[in-house]
């Protein structure tokens, strides 16, 4: 364990000192020197942190946002990709369902381009209770229908056996019927990116790939309010920065207790019970509906068509490992595939192209099964720990991120900007104002229709900026990633306007390299573009491409079957020939 400049431990995982008081560093001249002063420093670039940064920036506060990896690196970018209305809370807590549906409607309003309808189908097994269950589900979703208008959802339907066979022919087994209900899908990584872009355009300073190493009390000015100094380091350039802020928000999800320890705050006050969830991605849409079914242990799992792929998920297991390196294992993949295959056997022959995994920041409780843990959220005020003005956001879920961010921001605004109100539910996210129609756009600009459609999905009205790049430099029309597809102009836009700094970052923003070929045809070229745009040495671009390809291969091979093994061998041979698998020459 090494000590930071301020005497505060800054190594991840270090135990907080026994004192519950925040350490006041010894006064030194350079302690006073900070690079910038802000009203609020937000730590964590997931949907919650970026949501708070946007909310506060809209209220006119000066905000700094820090993220140790990239935006949506954790749970935000690796969720099931849904803004759902929370039907599971309907029986015990209908108010949660109401607010979830309301917020789903709000996100549709502020980012209409980013949401897509996912109709769900729940097949019910035939048997002595089959008909009864069908009636029960029918009644349940009739009650849920009352909330659907809040999120522009369609009312549920009840299907008999022949309807199911016609609408979802992939489903096998003896069923009594099915009910359908309506939910919305979203790209969580884009959501975090758009919140960040907006916050930045409204004055926030955003530091990505920048690890906060310590949070210490700033020397107090005469009669002034308490303030904090955050020491951070850019992990790509090793450049150190120090900023001063009146208020600090810890929005680091599963990392929250670790972040708190950097400020010598007791992690026991913000206990979470990290739970790992994995998803397996298939190369195409295999079904018309998202299908809900049960795993071998009775847990609910699903197969969903999501963007241009299919996703099966999810697991929910207590996690004790490294939060920076969460990967799916082949065992987890088999558990999911086994469960889905019982009702949708084609899944065994479908081509899995990757997996993704993340850790939910579930609120702590000892005893219950992971699935029964609360998905609620809470703001923890660290004033009782001797750190007034430091808050931790714990728990939460993608669907309620905006509401959670509003709750946090309202607390801060009470102190710093009492006359302001939240406007995140009214003001559109970047690109969400006038979403253009993709097909006329494709015709007008001579683009592949699918490319235009994907561009509009990701960028809404801001597609005009990418089109302007293409007009100015026709070579940027070149398709870099064929699978998605992603054109060169979009890659450069992601670097220039969306703060991507690595191939991995570009992939998170554009889905480059996440398709069927696993980046084999685009990673090297993307690395070239990143290096060129950022003025990095060429070998740095190659190193990024190599590490992206290696990481993608890791997420793929745990799900590979016979046919994929052959493709893996090809991928490896190509990589060996072109880039090498390690080091540089």
């Amino acid at each position: 364990m090494s000590a930071g400049e301020n005497g505060a431990p800054h190594v991840r995982g270090s135990a907080p000192p026994p004192s519950l008081r925040i350490a006041t560093p010894p006064m030194r001249v350079d302690d006073l020197a900070t690079d910038a002063t802000f009203d609020v420093a937000v730590v964590g670039g997931g949907v919650n942190g970026t949501g708070v940064a946007r909310d506060l920036a809209l209220r006119g506060l000066e905000v700094a946002l820090f993220e140790r990896h990239d935006l949506a690196f954790g749970a935000s970018g690796n969720s099931s990709g849904m803004i759902h209305g929370g039907p599971r809370y309907l029986v015990n807590n209908p108010n949660v369902t109401r607010t979830s549906c309301l917020d789903s409607g709000i996100v549709q309003h502020i980012a209409p381009h980013l949401l897509f309808r996912i109709p769900f189908l729940v097949p019910l097994k035939s048997g002595p209770l089959g008909k009864v269950m069908l009636e029960l589900y029918d009644a349940f979703f009739r009650a849920y229908d009352d909330f659907q208008p809040l999120k522009r959802g369609k009312p549920h339907t009840r299907l008999d056996v022949s309807d199911v066979a016609r609408l979802e022919p992939g489903i096998v087994g003896s069923i009594a019927g099915a009910v359908t209900f309506d939910e919305w899908g979203v790209d969580g990584a884009r959501l975090a990116v758009l919140n960040t872009v907006d916050a930045r355009e409204r004055g926030a300073s955003v530091y990505l790939h920048t690890a906060v190493e310590s949070i210490a009390k700033a020397p107090r000015e005469e009669g002034g309010p308490p303030a904090y100094v955050l020491a951070a380091r850019d992990v790509l350039t090793q450049r150190a920065i120090r900023v001063r802020a009146r208020i600090v928000v810890n929005a680091t999800g599963a990392w929250s207790p670790i972040t708190a320890a950097l400020g010598c705050l007791p992690s026991s006050r913000i206990r979470i019970r990290p739970a790992k969830g994995i998803h397996v991605v298939f190369d195409r849409r295999l079904s018309n509906y998202a299908v809900l079914t049960e795993a071998i242990d009775g847990r609910q799992i699903f197969l969903e068509p999501w963007q241009n792929m299919s996703v099966i998920g999810t697991t929910d297991d207590d996690y004790y490992g490294d939060l920076d390196d969460v990967t799916a294992t082949s065992e987890e993949v088999r558990y999911l595939v086994q469960g889905i295959a019982r009702i949708f056997p084609q899944i065994r022959e479908a081509r899995a192209i990757g997996t993704y995994a993340a850790v939910r920041p579930t609120m702590y409780a000892y005893g219950p099964y992971e699935d029964s843990l609360s998905r609620e959220h809470a703001v923890v005020d660290h004033a009782p720990d001797g750190a007034p003005g430091v808050y931790s956001m714990i728990g939460g879920k993608l669907a309620s991120y905006r509401l959670f961010a509003q709750e946090m921001s309202d607390r801060i605004a009470e102190v710093l900007a009492p006359d302001t109100v939240c406007t995140t539910h009214e003001k559109p996210l970047p690109g969400g104002d006038r979403v253009p129609d993709a097909l006329p756009l494709a015709a007008q600009h001579e683009l592949l229709p699918v490319l235009a459609r994907r561009l509009v999905y990701r960028h809404g009205s801001r597609v005009s900026r990418i089109l302007a790049r293409m007009t100015k430099r026709p070579t940027e029309r070149a398709i870099v990633c064929v699978c998605e597809p992603v054109c060169e102009a979009e890659v450069r836009h992601a670097i220039g306007e969306e703060m991507a700094r690595t191939v991995d970052d570009v992939a998170r923003r554009t889905r480059l390299g996440l398709g069927a070929c696993g980046g084999m045809r685009c990673a090297a070229r993307c690395g070239q573009i990143v290096a060129e745009e950022l003025g990095l040495p060429p070998r740095e671009g190659m190193a990024q491409a190599r590490s992206f390809l290696t990481r993608q291969a890791k997420t793929r091979v745990v799900a590979m079957g016979t046919a994929q093994a052959r493709q893996e061998a090809l991928a490896l041979a190509q990589m060996r020939a072109m880039l090498g698998t390690k080091g540089d020459t």
Binding site: E488, A531, P538, R539, V558, G561, E568, A569, M578, K582
Partner: protein, 410 residues
């Protein structure tokens, strides 16, 4: 005359066929499906190159049968001291040899190499020139790459054509002369370079690099390119010419079984069944069906088997796709059936999890003449089907040549 049947038309199979034919055997080659060789980008390796900074360790010259095969193919240059290739991923890498269309940088004295710059999707000459110049190998040899304008595409559709299609266009002498003209034009305004490195466009029937170099007056050659390049096509053409010239009978089809037996008590023969039901009788068989990528081996995780509710039974992680008396090995040990109903986890035997992945080593154990361990006489294996052999082009060629000689002479 001894009858030798070779299964597989990649570099190992062709080497076996040509070597056996050169030893006087009557050779039939079955199976013309594309495999690993056709996908290989044209660098000839015998070991991983990434760990060699700059130059490869000295190796013994290739054995005579292997040299004979290379000679018959005529499309490759192998040098004891190795060659240096520029890859379109931006690296300069060493290799033992290369497709003749590729530019060998090792023979160049210090000085500038020209990279023609023109608008072409995904081909950024300026960046490539920077990246190659920046590589340790180029710096050590004082090779500088300079990107200078030269419009090398002729028609609008060429913007969206893969390299291999463009390579095919340059088989046309008139088109090649046009390309030479453009390069000569570019040289008028550029200080004379040592060589010109081009995209992988220099012919499919034959390497046109030599022709082009003569017309331009400066050595010209391709950069090494991955997916979509013409090197595999050039191999196929060179293979077909060499097999025809040597008098090897080529039979299209897919082998499903190789059985040891004989129609009479004294004649011990191999009966090889094709998918079509046809039966080929031969004195010796060389299986060069490739590894995982070539299709000779199949990865068989238990979990991938279609089954309803019951967990599938345990099975070993790989099997040979041809029904023959073959046992699979890896790391000199028989491949075991994992003690798991679901098969062994992929994490433990694949790249990039394992440093030396079991899936890279699995195959049939054989002596250096390719005689399969534990199999009846006359059964030889070559190429990636051989256990623990490096998965490289030259290793496949050498093992094929040895197996061909042994099959013809045993």
């Amino acid at each position: 005359m001894k009858r030798v049947l070779v299964v597989g038309s990649g570099v190992a199979g062709v080497a076996a066929a040509l070597a056996a034919r050169a030893r006087g055997a009557q050779v039939t080659l079955v199976g013309t499906r594309p495999g690993a060789t056709v996908l290989a980008p044209g660098a000839l390796d015998d070991a991983p190159w990434e760990s060699c900074a700059g130059s490869l360790p000295e190796r013994l010259p290739l054995p005579a049968p292997a040299l004979g095969v290379l000679d018959a193919l005529g499309a490759y240059a192998v040098k004891g001291s190795g060659v240096l290739l520029a890859t379109t991923a931006g690296l300069v890498r060493p290799a033992r040899g290369a497709d003749r269309a590729l530019l060998d940088l090792a023979s160049l004295p210090p000085g500038p190499v020209l990279v023609p710059r023109f608008d072409h999707p995904g081909y950024d000459a300026r960046w490539l020139a920077r990246a190659w110049s920046d590589s340790g190998i180029a710096k050590a040899r004082s090779l500088g790459f300079v990107a200078e304008p030269a419009q090398l595409t002729r028609y609008v559709d060429e913007h969206s054509l893969p390299d291999a299609d463009l390579a095919a266009r340059h088989d046309d002498p008139a088109r090649l002369a046009w390309l030479a003209g453009r390069l000569v034009e570019a040289l008028r305004v550029t200080p004379r370079p040592l060589a010109i490195v081009l995209p992988a466009w220099l012919g499919v029937d034959l390497s046109r690099a030599q022709d082009l170099s003569e017309q331009v007056g400066v050595p010209c050659g391709e950069a090494l390119t991955g997916t979509g390049g013409p090197s595999g096509l050039r191999f196929e053409r060179a293979r077909d010419r060499a097999l025809a010239k040597a008098g090897v009978e080529v039979v299209a089809g897919h082998v499903v079984r190789a059985e040891h037996g004989g129609r009479s008590a004294e004649a011990v023969e191999w009966l090889v069944s094709l998918e079509s039901g046809e039966l080929v009788v031969s004195d010796a068989v060389v299986l060069a069906t490739g590894g995982l990528l070539g299709g000779g081996l199949e990865y068989t995780p238990a979990g991938s088997v279609l089954s309803a509710a019951l967990p599938p039974g345990p099975r070993s992680i790989a099997r040979a796709t041809i029904d023959a008396p073959l046992a699979l090995f890896a790391f000199r040990k028989p491949l075991e059936t994992p003690s798991s109903l679901q098969g062994s986890p992929a994490e433990s035997h694949t790249w990039p999890f394992a440093e030396d992945p079991l899936l890279d080593r699995v195959g049939v154990r054989a002596d250096e003449d390719g005689r399969a361990f534990g199999a009846p006489p006359g059964l030889h294996v070559a190429g990636e089907l051989v256990a623990d052999l490096p998965r490289t082009w030259l290793a496949a060629l050498t093992s094929g040549a040895h197996a061909g000689v042994a099959a013809a002479e045993d």
